[in-house]
């Protein structure tokens, strides 16, 4: 039996994080939670994940900074941004740019099924370890 894929979830809304942990675990993933970008980066360094799900607005270090840091560590790491933002402000990093791939953006409120589908699609871009 292969080791389950590891997903790191950076989300400051505890209830949202717990709900994601619940359904991802039920689908057989190993899940680590982090309440902000800085904590997420630290946990990733200690225990690298196969995929990172992140919110954009978080205390201490926001999602954009986390994405930049993680991309610096691993150019091929699948990233899933889940945000309540309507649009990406000009003058800031355009996360929709192909330069950030593999990266997908989902808008809150989002269905768990859509998150699962997207996670699976992103995982497929990465050759199994």
């Amino acid at each position: 039996m292969p080791e389950p894929a590891h997903i790191l979830v950076a989300e400051d809304e505890v209830l949202a994080a717990m709900a994601m942990e619940d359904f991802l675990q039920r689908k057989g993933y190993r899940v680590t939670l982090a309440p902000d970008g800085l904590a997420a980066l630290e946990r990733y360094r200690n225990d690298p994940a196969d995929l990172v799900i992140t919110d954009l607005r978080m205390p201490r270090m926001d999602g954009r900074a986390l994405v930049r840091e993680l991309r610096g560590l691993d150019a091929a790491l699948p990233l899933l941004v889940v945000t309540g933002f309507l649009s990406i402000e000009p003058g800031q990093d355009d996360l929709t740019s192909p330069a950030w791939k593999p990266l997908e953006i989902l808008r809150k409120p989002v269905s768990p099924q859509v998150i699962l589908d997207t996670v699976q699609r992103l995982m497929a871009t990465r050759p199994a370890a």
């Binding site: 209830l15 607005r57 309540g84 933002f85 800031q92 989002v110 768990p112």
Partner: protein, 527 residues
């Protein structure tokens, strides 16, 4: 020496006076003719004098006329005696008559000299005529002036009214001009001379009497806005009262001018509402984000629960937890919606007493989350306490939201101008505290958005003035804010600030007078 009264009048020893004239007929005739004519004339003059005095009761010093009459009558009598003594030598009796005449003459002469200065002071008919003319001219000038003022009073479009301040301190209506009669629907004839408290409905009377008393207490002009229920309906007035004093300095009247500003107020409210909705538009993205958080939690938890249920997991403890979370999150959304609703509500109510800190707190709460998304921190230090100001709480909140929104835009713009590189943060400081001068509250909003061009600074409160790109700002936000603060008798100022660490920005400071409201005013607010 004297031989008694009888001897005095005894004429037996005398010869008639005609003997002295040797009974020459021509001499006698001349004497007799002259004396009789003089006597008759002298008798007619006093009659004339007495006649004048009796007819003209207004004649000055009438007693001297009587004196003259007596003296001349006596003189006339002496002349008749001169004729009489030509034949009968009653020189004793004639002497008595002369003596009486002498007394009357001397008294008259003395009286005349004593009276001289006062007689000279009497105006001559010419002087009287001149004075009369002057008086006539004066009357004409005054008549014209009165006509002119009556014409102003009757024809000015401005509503004018006059209130009498009675000695006991109560107020009665004197009159109001036709313009004010039309505007208020009050007939001047029905209120003239009547007590204010008798003419107006008690609530309205109470309100206006309060203003009249304030004007008397102030001792000078006062100027205010008031909403009154009148025969024409509920109208808003801008009224100026001016006290009028009598010679002794006591206030005896109040002159009032009133302008119906109901339409203007309505228009201002419309403008305020429009500006508020525009502000809401700029906040929409932040609101959407706020709403997406609880909605996201509800969706994931409920779909997870549904999926477990379908897999046959009927753990009621878990379902209980999920439904509790859903309920909590809908409550959270409800609060966000409530705040939006409150803010967007048309604020048509009257002025009221409120704590400005609460409005500032509400404004900060409205924007803080959205700003945090863009890495703009709102640092609020708000002293809540007994400070109470007079105005409309939602309008003050609107002013604050507008200032915060401007601060946000300035920071975003400054960051865009800073160019590439990681987006720097931004910081907005909000402070509410007691003013340096007693009786004031200070609210300040300070950003680090780079500041405003000093040339532009004096114009930022002008309507339609904007430094934002076309389509980004109406240019009305600050001018409407200025109007709102002005209506609260406060002021709003802007100044560039140097934070000392390389950051520059603008500080907006609102100074509001702290109210010491009377109980009656509180009552009226809540009525």
């Amino acid at each position: 020496m004297f031989g008694g009264l009888e001897a005095f009048f005894d004429s037996s020893g005398f010869i008639p006076h005609g003997v002295c004239l040797l009974w020459k007929p021509e001499i006698l005739a001349l004497h007799i003719g002259s004396d009789v004519l003089i006597g008759l004339s002298y008798y007619s003059i006093p009659i004339a004098l007495v006649y004048v005095v009796l007819k003209r009761r207004d004649v000055a010093f009438s007693w001297i006329f009587w004196l003259f009459a007596a003296f001349i009558l006596a003189c006339g009598t002496t002349h008749f005696f001169s004729v009489w003594t030509l034949w009968t030598p009653e020189y004793g009796l004639e002497g008595v008559v002369k003596g009486v005449t002498a007394v009357a003459s001397v008294l008259t002469a003395i009286a005349l000299w004593l009276l001289m200065p006062r007689l000279l002071a009497l105006p001559s008919p010419a002087q009287m005529a001149e004075a009369n003319d002057a008086l006539q001219r004066e009357i004409e000038v005054r008549r014209q002036a009165e006509q002119r003022y009556a014409s102003f009073f009757n024809n000015l479009a401005e509503g004018l009214f006059v209130v009498t301040v009675l000695p006991d301190g109560r107020f009665a209506f004197d009159t109001l001009n036709p313009a004010h009669a039309r505007a208020t629907g009050i007939d001047p004839d029905t209120i003239r001379g009547r007590l204010v408290s008798e003419v107006l409905p008690s609530e309205t009377a109470q309100a206006v009497i309060g203003r009249y008393a304030a004007c008397v207490a102030a001792g000078g002009p006062i100027d205010y806005e008031e909403t009154l229920d009148l025969p024409v309906g509920r109208r808003v007035w801008h009224t100026v009262l001016v006290p009028v004093r009598d010679g002794g300095g006591a206030i005896v009247q109040l002159l009032g001018s009133a302008r119906d500003i109901t339409e203007r107020k309505k228009f201002q409210e419309e403008l305020v509402q429009t500006s508020k909705l525009a502000t809401l538009g700029t906040l929409a993205a932040g609101m959407a984000h706020e709403m997406s958080q609880p909605l996201n939690i509800i969706r994931i938890w409920s779909e997870n629960a549904l999926s477990r249920l379908r897999d046959g997991d009927t753990d009621t403890a878990r379902l209980d937890k999920v439904l509790t979370i859903v309920a909590d999150q809908t409550e959270r959304m409800g609060k966000i919606i409530d705040h939006m609703r409150t803010f967007s509500r048309r604020d048509g109510g009257g002025m009221q007493m409120f704590d400005p800190a609460a409005s500032v707190r509400a404004a900060v709460d409205l924007v803080a989350n959205q700003f945090a998304l863009e890495n703009i921190a709102v640092d609020a230090e708000i002293e809540t306490g007994e400070t109470v100001v007079r105005g409309r709480p939602l309008q003050l909140e609107q002013v604050l939201v507008n200032l915060l929104s401007n601060a946000h835009d300035a920071i975003v713009e400054r960051r865009a101008a800073d160019g590439e590189g990681p987006p720097a943060g931004g910081r907005i400081e909000v402070r509410v505290r007691r003013g340096g001068s007693p009786g004031t509250a200070l609210i300040s909003v300070t950003d680090d958005g780079g500041g405003i061009d000093p040339d532009v600074l004096p114009r930022i409160f002008d309507p339609f003035f904007t430094t934002k790109e076309v389509g980004k700002g109406s240019g009305l936000g600050l001018s409407i804010g200025y109007g709102i603060i002005d209506a609260m008798n406060g002021r709003i100022e802007a100044a560039n600030v140097d934070h000392g660490d390389g950051r520059h920005g603008v500080r907006f400071t609102i100074t509001l007078p702290v109210s010491h409201s009377s109980a009656s005013e509180m009552e009226r607010t809540h009525a």
